[in-house]
């Protein structure tokens, strides 16, 4: 079964790589199979890791036990079933109920979490290096940095503040970008380009890693299983 699995995986891998030559029936077969398998996998996971433990088990426990508290789960199930109103043109509007609940839930959960993780923590991370600089210069630091390392640290900390302010200025459209604002915005573009360059470099390396892994599978695992 394991060898058969290796052959199936190798066949599908080659089917997909055949697209590098041109679009062909083998690639289309693998592409459509991938869609079907992925959707099926998603459904199975959402049922077994979402619906069954959170809804089915409490309801079943209520029906077979003494406590009826699990029957509360029928309310979200009712709202969930309203999604299927989309299939009836006359009752399509009912889909707004579950969507409104999920949107309200998402918006409500986002505000405190985004404030905490993305505003306060990021601002703290930007300013915090200056407390290290302060402790180093006043001699209150537990570990004293070597002078060369400390200089690089200061440059990094100052660069961080300049970068954050300039990037934010670039996205600040409430004032016209003229004079000093325009200069700050241009510096912001430079920082953004460095950010995009890093993201591009990391993406390329990630994809190349996957390619190496697939080629390694074909050469060592698949061909290795033949000879």
């Amino acid at each position: 079964m394991q060898v058969f699995g290796i052959w199936v995986a190798a066949f599908l891998t080659l089917c997909i790589y055949s697209f590098l030559y041109q679009d062909n029936p083998l690639y289309r077969f693998a592409e459509h199979l991938f869609v079907g398998i992925s959707v099926g996998y998603g459904i199975v996971l959402s049922i077994h890791e979402g619906f069954i433990p959170l809804a089915w088990n409490p309801i079943w426990a209520s029906l077979t036990g003494d406590s009826l508290s699990g029957l509360w789960k029928l309310i979200p199930i009712f709202f969930g079933l309203l999604f299927f109103a989309r299939l009836s043109p006359r009752h399509t509007w009912l889909i707004r109920y579950p969507i409104a609940i999920l949107i309200g839930f998402g918006a409500g959960i986002a505000i405190p979490n985004v404030l905490r993780a993305n505003i306060f923590e990021q601002t703290r991370g930007t300013i915090e290096p200056f407390s290290v600089i302060h402790s180093q210069t006043t001699g209150t630091a537990v570990e004293v940095m070597p002078s060369g390392e400390f200089t690089v640290f200061i440059i990094g900390a100052v660069l961080m503040v300049i970068g954050v302010i300039c990037t934010l200025t670039y996205f600040f459209f409430s004032v016209e970008h003229r004079g000093p604002i325009s200069w700050l915005s241009k510096v912001g573009i430079c920082f953004l380009m460095v950010g995009f360059g890093s993201a591009f470099g990391n993406t390329v390396m990630g994809r190349v890693t996957l390619l190496i892994q697939r080629v390694d599978f074909l050469l060592n695992t698949w061909i290795g299983s033949i000879f």
Binding site: I16, K73, F105, C190
Partner: protein, 216 residues
């Protein structure tokens, strides 16, 4: 009725989720957990609806004999196989795991690895150092790539043999990632987060209603 009740529901759920996160009271925690579980129960229904739409689309393709309609049977075959095995026997079933490990995972990795070829050809066409900004992007991407692999160190050492930065390819990469790159990302994160918060407030207060769609 058709628009007002959804707006009220959205407001109530939004306010409840905010309020329960700021209160450490046991009742508040219980309400928070129940609402989160409720949302997790509702979400799979949206996935099932999406699947129904996918089935409708492919069934229509087959009925109309559209281009490549035969492949819609392959979609159904994959979908039905996974559901028939996975739903009654669970994701720990041996056949289900076999399909996941030998069909889905290899195809997933191969699909994404295809991008390595297209990203290289796209970069060849797009990366022309015509402006300062484009040059910055190009140089940064090169340093990050060189710093990631051992062969990059060799190239770096050849290029930098006349400077004091020999053997510093990965250090240069790390400095870029943790300083200018991080500051740009922080700027973007702060901007996006402020946008998310303002949009969430608009949604909860019913100012933003586009999610209700058109009609009555």
């Amino acid at each position: 009725m058709k628009r007002l009740i959804p707006l009220v529901l959205c407001f109530i759920f939004g306010i409840v989720m905010i309020a329960t996160q700021f209160s450490p009271h046991p009742i508040s925690k219980r309400v928070y957990e129940e609402v989160v579980n409720g949302a997790l129960i509702i979400s799979p229904f949206a996935l099932v609806l999406a699947t129904v739409t996918l089935i409708q689309t492919h069934a229509t393709r087959i009925l109309r004999r559209s281009d490549h309609w035969q492949y819609s049977f392959v979609v159904f075959a994959g979908l039905i196989t996974m559901v028939v095995i996975g739903v009654p026997f669970g994701p720990k079933n041996t056949v289900f795991e076999w399909l996941y490990n030998n069909v889905q995972v290899p195809m997933d990795a191969t699909m994404f690895s295809l991008l390595a070829f297209f990203i290289a050809s796209a970069a060849y066409r797009a990366f022309r150092a015509r402006t300062t900004e484009a040059t910055l992007l190009l140089v940064t991407a090169l340093i990050v790539m060189l710093g990631n692999v051992p062969v990059g160190n060799l190239v770096w050492n050849k290029l930098m043999s006349w400077t004091p930065w020999v053997d510093q390819a990965s250090a240069a990469r790390e400095w870029i990632l943790y300083n200018p790159n991080l500051s740009a990302r922080r700027g973007i994160i702060l901007g996006v987060s402020l946008g998310v918060i303002s949009q969430s407030v608009r949604i909860i207060l019913g100012i933003e209603r586009s999610y209700l769609g058109g009609g009555d």
